[in-house]
């Protein structure tokens, strides 16, 4: 078994080099769906950070007793249990946002980032690095989501966290809060990042 990478390396990789959204294009369903309001984005980020780090930890703790053939099923069940926790907590404390996020909290289960990290990292590494890896990768995800929301909310509603920030004469770009705006925004982001930092993309292929 290869030596687990150092903690700092894990964070660097998760945040930038292997950034799940920009580099690996994983988990973008929720990226696009929740980024029209910054508040929703923050709740989604918190949910994902909790789910990913805890599932990585659990998968890693169970890595020696999980039969290889049914590991996917086991991982899915672990992830689903944590998602249920997140769902209940959000419903209880933030009912408005829970309404707005709708099924997307439940869809954290099929967020490929979590499954991907469990498969690629937590399955082969001890609990503590796996936990850190979960946090690092989900912070990378949160970083991109926040960035996109920072563009979409002011342009689409003229607000930030619900407060008016654009001048009065500003006409909101309704397209930014609708589906096409989300696709364009993420497409442009991926383009910019890959244009300026192309090296890691090549070695993936």
């Amino acid at each position: 078994m290869p030596k687990p990478p150092s903690n700092i390396q894990i964070f660097k990789d998760g945040l930038w080099k292997d950034n799940p959204v920009l580099r690996q294009i994983l988990g973008i369903c929720s990226t696009l769906a929740v980024t029209n309001l910054l508040a929703n984005t923050m709740v989604m980020n918190a949910g994902l950070i909790f789910t990913l780090s805890m599932s990585s930890l659990t998968v890693s703790l169970l890595r020696n007793v999980t039969p290889v053939r049914i590991r996917m099923m086991v991982q899915t069940l672990i992830i689903a249990s944590y998602v249920i926790v997140v769902d209940i907590v959000i419903k209880a404390h933030l009912p408005d946002i829970s309404e707005a996020l709708g099924p997307y909290v439940g869809l954290i289960i099929t967020n490929c980032i979590i499954m991907g990290r469990c498969e690629a990292f937590a399955r082969h590494n001890p609990p503590w690095p796996s936990f850190l890896d979960g946090i690092a990768v989900s912070l990378g995800y949160a970083f991109v989501l926040t960035l996109i929301a920072l563009f979409r909310e002011p342009l689409g509603f003229g607000t930030l966290f619900g407060y008016q920030i654009m001048p009065d004469g500003f006409t909101p770009w309704t397209i930014m809060i609708m589906a096409p705006g989300a696709f364009f925004m993420l497409g442009l982001f991926v383009w910019v990042v890959r244009y300026y930092f192309p090296e890691t993309v090549e070695e993936k292929k």
Binding site: S30, S81, G106, C112, A179, F183, G187
Partner: protein, 197 residues
């Protein structure tokens, strides 16, 4: 229970409320498979079939098993198990009895388990309180809508690969997202025709 005509709901799920273009579901397999029309078609057919059936099964399980037992919160786990086992079942059946079909669809079936559109459709029909036949119509419509979207993008990408030279960094996911945005824009023209939530 919402009062929507079943056929209306069916068409709304295809056009105005396309699950991929307005709800962003099922994007991961969408981006990786939409390189060509052939494989898009294969995956699309598989999605239609699985989505229709799991919508029906999940509906029945939710209203006849989970609700009476007050286990609504377990619906995520139950739904994902149902979807995974249904896909497995279909895969084995198709492999055993329709080898030709298996040759076409085989590699796509496992991908479907992690397609969030399938789980998403099941969650939407609970949230929107559809009746049984509405749920089936919604599942089928969403599947067809998903297939239309992936084939449209697949066709455009196939042409692009042959003719256009793209700026650096835009190849692959970047251009696919922009194309999808344009198609989503085109589909917005349908909105207003039919209103569902």
């Amino acid at each position: 229970m919402v009062q929507i005509d079943i056929s209306t709901l069916f068409f709304a799920a295809i056009f105005t409320n396309n699950i991929l273009l307005t709800n962003f579901l099922g994007l991961c397999p969408f981006l990786s498979i939409s390189r060509e029309v052939r494989s898009s078609l294969g995956l699309g057919i598989a999605v239609i079939f699985v989505m229709t059936c799991t919508a029906a099964i999940n509906y029945l399980v939710y209203y006849h098993v989970l609700l009476p037992l007050n286990l609504e919160h377990f619906r995520y786990i139950v739904f994902i198990i149902i979807i995974a086992s249904f896909v497995q079942l279909v895969e084995m059946t198709v492999e055993r009895y329709f080898p030709a079909l298996y040759y076409v669809l085989g590699i796509f079936l496992p991908l479907i388990t992690v397609n969030c559109a399938i789980l998403g459709a099941s969650l939407f029909l609970i949230i929107r309180k559809y009746s049984f036949w509405q749920a089936v119509a919604y599942g089928a419509g969403s599947g067809i809508g998903w297939m239309i979207a992936i084939i449209a993008v697949g066709a455009i990408r196939e042409k692009l690969q042959k003719s256009a030279s793209l700026p650096r960094g835009l190849e692959g996911p970047g251009i696919t997202l922009l194309i999808t945005g344009l198609i989503a824009l085109a589909f917005m023209a349908f909105s207003g025709m039919i209103q569902i939530q």
